[in-house]
Symmetry: C2
């Protein structure tokens, strides 16, 4: 098992030029996103929202606030998936946890901890905390999405280079509620895979044991 998942992880690399003939059906895209949301989230709030831009009109809008450096991915990908965090996800939590308890998916203790201990923290949380939590949840789902895409034979490029202040409004979301986290371009690489992988610092620079 380690072998197989490591193959997917090490094969994934950021691709900036896709074969424009490759399209991805909305059924397959939805299936990949459905698998992506097996990711964990704080208190299972699932504070994420995905906008899949796979039409010429949708992509044209992206060109208004993406950096020109990222136009090749916008123009040649099968889709650009915009990952937003939902700062108000906690408003749905009560029904979710009660449903999970009824379905015997969580213990009473876990439900009560969520409803009585953690959820008041969200209800009284600062904007900054709601934004951070939604950003983390959404990043976890985005990472799973990139790996699933790789396993489906696609390539991806995670994109941070756009004007975040324009992202939500551009796709009709309330910018007060939805915070842009990243965009992921997906398609098939226009070129055969090359061994041109970016470097990582030695792991020793990033790890301490205590």
């Amino acid at each position: 098992m380690p072998q197989e998942i490591e193959t997917v992880m090490t094969k994934r690399q950021s691709i900036r030029e896709f074969d424009p003939k490759v399209k991805i059906s909305r059924d397959e895209m939805t299936a990949m996103l459905k698998m992506a949301i097996t990711a964990p989230s704080a208190c299972n709030l699932q504070a994420w929202k995905f906008i899949v831009v796979d039409t010429p009109a949708g992509k044209e809008k992206l060109r208004h606030y993406f950096m020109p450096f990222n136009f090749p991915q916008v123009d040649t990908s099968a889709a650009v998936v915009l990952f937003f965090g939902n700062k108000l996800a906690y408003k749905k939590y009560r029904k979710l946890w009660q449903g999970m308890y009824k379905a015997k998916k969580v213990t009473k203790e876990a439900m009560e901890a969520a409803l009585n201990t953690f959820m008041p923290l969200y209800e009284h949380a600062s904007e900054a905390m709601l934004k951070t939590d939604a950003t983390i949840d959404t990043s976890l789902a985005a990472m799973q999405f990139m790996l699933i895409a790789q396993a489906h034979g696609y390539d991806t490029n995670a994109i941070a280079g756009y004007d975040a202040s324009k992202a939500a409004e551009s796709v009709g979301l309330d910018p007060e509620q939805f915070v842009p986290v990243m965009a992921v371009a997906i398609g098939k690489s226009a070129k055969a895979p090359v061994a041109m992988r970016t470097s990582r610092y030695d792991i020793g620079e990033s790890v301490d044991y205590q």
Copy 2:
């Protein structure tokens, strides 16, 4: 390939009680973290830092700022890995990109875009942007880590329930530079796996096509 990665993703569930006899060698832990940092990061800044707490003394410190609800994971796990974002990761970027270019791992265009276009954005960035970017990078690595752990036969629990204001200082990091993102407890479940998975909202609630 989709089958195998989907198995890892769907098998992963948050485990709160581990077999306290199970230990993980630092060699294996480092290998798992090394695989985790194949995750992408904005401009390849790799704005992450991992503190692996696998000693009784280290765990005792966690009890000072973790919520009691999470003490079972702290006490029974083989380790708690603290994931921090590094807000000053950009200070190392120049050497990294020049090294990648020399090693023919990136094109000159990509290096120049990083050094001349994107990096000044970091050098003049607000605290909030540096924190957000480091939080996203680190979340991506954390998600890969949880999947790798699963593939290695371990279980995990991503933990947000602790006093974030105390995390960096408690492990000797500068709280101005390092922002806590999450903790991941890792070990082997004390009980046989149960079909007690948390629910997800219907994927249709989270996806729009445009």
